[in-house]
Subunit: 253 residues, 2 copies
């Protein structure tokens, strides 16, 4: 019986077709499997916590795998970082209990969505934010965001997937910071439906530009109708910042 | 007689061989000349304010050209941004007096140098910062930086070029901000020698890690010897933020 290892994985999603292995195209999952298998000299298949879409970034996605290799778990981060392409970097590697599962355990995830709000795009931010030209009232956005905090049915804020029937999730906090020309939405919750953060961002942009009133957010939630919310904001602005496992405090780096 | 037009140019320097036209390789200057010539239907050759190196970024470099085209100067930014590759974006275009010259007029330039200070690299910052692992004492860096502010002979802080004989420059301010894992040096002065900001950054890193004492900076300046200062920090961390023309207040956007 080998050990179970948890990796905290950061990546620039620009050059990948997302996390999950695809028949055509390079993915984060396939890069991890290939380099882990070469490093540990056995076939490794990671299980990821969050299957981010193409263009989405991560600072703290989580991948878990079992191995019988003798390399200490905490050394795997260093060894992998000499092998991986420079747009993927392991931030932490550690042994976790055999019953730890990156998706089925209770998790708290934090995402950031960045909006570069200026007259013309900043080329250095084009791959890591949404460029937005029109007026935005950040105080209105905060007032709208406040209605999303708490336990709600987020059917209006997701792209439906037939296998997901329960759309109730809890958002613990949704903060909006403005610093120079960068507006950052930071959202922490116990789970996120498909495209949920990007739809929240697109909806709060509409609140900010005046086409949705902050007070309409409860109605949009109650409608349970995707067409009532705003656009799905582009993936480049989204970063999966952190995944906490409250039942495994030692597993968090 | 046509008009003289000033462009404020932002670019991600990652995929360019710097500003200045090279026999082989793509440059910011050659992209501007090509697209301006196509847009205005006459041969345009810009004069740039700062010939940034390969990998260096800009939010506010300046290019000037003369044209007899009838397109209003302030419309050129919009027209150019539909033509340029997405890693170059004009931030402002305006008519300036015929005697305005981007290099020979008095200028105040602001550069930023970004240091990503963490245990493992953040892939999304790899092209826009220097990754630094070892301990840094930011208060020591600030103490060292204070000795560089003012009028000094910066011979120790430049890569020598035979055509430049006067190495006296004035730094008006040199501020160091730490925010999360990002340390940003912000330096404003009346002119910068070749590689000067990158050598200042490399030297202040040595002050931060303890291998140079803050009090040694005046001695390093006085030595007028490049070998006394720190390394030339990598270009990716450097951004030319802004160029002010104090004698032409209307030319500044």
């Amino acid at each position: 019986m080998g050990k179970r290892v948890k990796l905290t994985v950061a990546y620039d999603g620009t050059n990948y077709c997302g996390w999950q292995i695809q028949p055509n195209g390079n993915t984060i999952e396939s890069e991890l499997n290939r380099h882990l298998s070469e490093l540990l000299q056995e076939e490794i298949r990671v299980v990821g916590a969050s299957r981010t879409d193409a263009g989405v970034h991560a600072l703290g996605n989580v991948a878990v795998f079992d191995t019988s290799a003798r390399m200490p778990a905490d050394k795997i981060s260093y060894a992998m970082n000499t092998r991986l392409p420079e747009d993927i970097r392991i931030q932490d590697s550690r042994e976790v209990p055999q019953d730890f599962h990156p998706r089925f355990c209770k998790t708290i995830k934090t995402y950031e969505y960045r909006i570069c709000h200026r007259r013309f795009p900043n080329p250095c931010e084009r791959l890591y934010s949404l460029f937005y030209y029109w007026d935005l009232d950040v105080e209105r956005m905060r007032a709208g965001a406040a209605h999303l905090v708490g336990e709600h049915d987020f059917s209006s804020f997701c792209t439906s997937r037939p296998e997901i029937t329960n759309h109730v999730r809890t958002i613990y906090s949704l903060e909006i910071e403005e610093r120079g020309d960068m507006i950052t939405l930071s959202v922490r919750g116990n789970g996120f439906l498909y495209n949920m953060v990007r739809i929240i961002a697109g909806t709060l942009l509409r609140v900010g530009n005046g086409t949705i009133q902050p007070e309409e957010i409860p109605e949009i939630l109650a409608a349970k109708d995707r067409r009532r919310a705003g656009e799905t904001a582009r993936p480049q602005g989204l970063t999966l910042v952190r995944i906490e496992y409250p039942d495994y405090p030692d597993a968090f780096c």
